[in-house]
Subunit: 200 residues, 2 copies
DNA sequence: TAAGTATGAATGAAAG
DNA sequence: CTTTCATTCATACTTA
């Protein structure tokens, strides 16, 4: 008997959207736990995986949409490729808020992400491989299989190190932005109050 | 309209699951090669990297699931435990094939991994000093547990810092890694299917 | 109801 | 290895 999939209640959706709007992209386990706990006030059947998937999907589709718009823009103004990007996002460092409400979540300094993170492709290189490395062989086609038709993904496990310009903007990791990652979560009460004043 | 990403055929999936169930976790390059070669009988478009990634993901998510279940049982009653992250599959013992094919794989001596493999430092569940990524678990968070040392030993995988990253997997031979060398390699002839001497 | 869409869920691929 | 990204599947919902 497959349980019907979770569907966020309006209140839950508002909270999630607000958190997302505030910059939350990859909530940590504790955050997911607390969010789930809080959202369960509105829907007892919510699970952590729902919150997790919600952020995954929302982020992915937001990015997808952005990518599509960008592509569309670049098709119209091909000459403006580089200038088409908005000005480099200024790191909006918000003052670390030590409020216990999770709705006071402050987005990290590197938010929103630069568009370069959407296409962080680097030219692949070939590398010498040892026959005992299974990872190394991944871009080797087996002999009796022909992949000439499709666009074979040739960049295997080896990538160049030219990544300084896009690595710095990778997102909100637990160990990236100190002001947002090392909160004393053990004593933090993320949902002390009911979510009020949230706008849609 | 090329299919951009490989999707295992049911037969392939059964074979992979069976190998995994038998204890295969980090197949060596030759093993991946043999598996890929064999699975290509069911899907000509399979590549070595597909097999490699399958094991990587399956292992990671299986481990993740184990972690969650363990924490669940240690935190609360497992009475109502249908929530949270789903189990991708349940190990179901199938009739072992005694022919000289893939199913003859014998799992290593250190399999299955006990809980110490997952928590080598006797995790204190309630510790909340550090945030873990939400992808790791959906319901509970564990404190930081460092597997790196053990993983290097156990998997024989190292990382170089040159040119991005690089995976090197040492082949577990009869005289390589002591803790994993008890594998009966003599019966590891996974795919002696081809009657014609291909090579070697 | 069929077609199209929005989105929860899952997983292959890859980055870190 | 862990974590994240991209793609796809599955299904509830919307629309004509």
């Amino acid at each position: 008997m497959p349980r019907p999939r979770w569907s966020p209640a309006p209140q839950q959706l508002m909270i999630l959207q607000d958190l997302y709007r505030k910059g939350m992209r990859n909530p940590t386990s504790s955050q997911v736990q607390k969010i789930t706990d809080h959202l369960s006030l509105y829907d007892g059947k919510i699970q952590c995986k729902n919150v997790f998937y919600w952020f995954q999907n929302h982020k992915a589709r937001d990015r997808q949409k952005l990518r599509k718009e960008l592509l569309h823009k670049m098709q119209k103004n091909p000459s403006d490729d580089d200038d088409d990007f908005p000005a480099p996002h200024q790191p909006q460092i918000t003052t670390p808020n030590n409020s216990s409400n999770i709705l006071d979540y402050n987005f990290p300094a590197n938010f929103p992400p630069n568009l370069h993170t959407l296409y962080p492709h680097s030219p692949s290189i070939l590398a010498e491989g040892k026959d005992t490395s299974s990872a190394q062989m991944m871009n080797n086609n087996i002999e009796n299989v022909d992949f000439s038709k499709q666009c074979v993904i040739e960049n295997g496990m080896i990538r160049t190190s030219v990544q300084g310009w896009f690595l710095m903007m990778t997102d909100i990791g637990p160990n990236s932005i100190p002001c947002c990652s090392n909160r004393p979560l053990g004593t933090l009460e993320l949902f002390p109050i009911k979510a009020t004043g949230i706008k849609e």
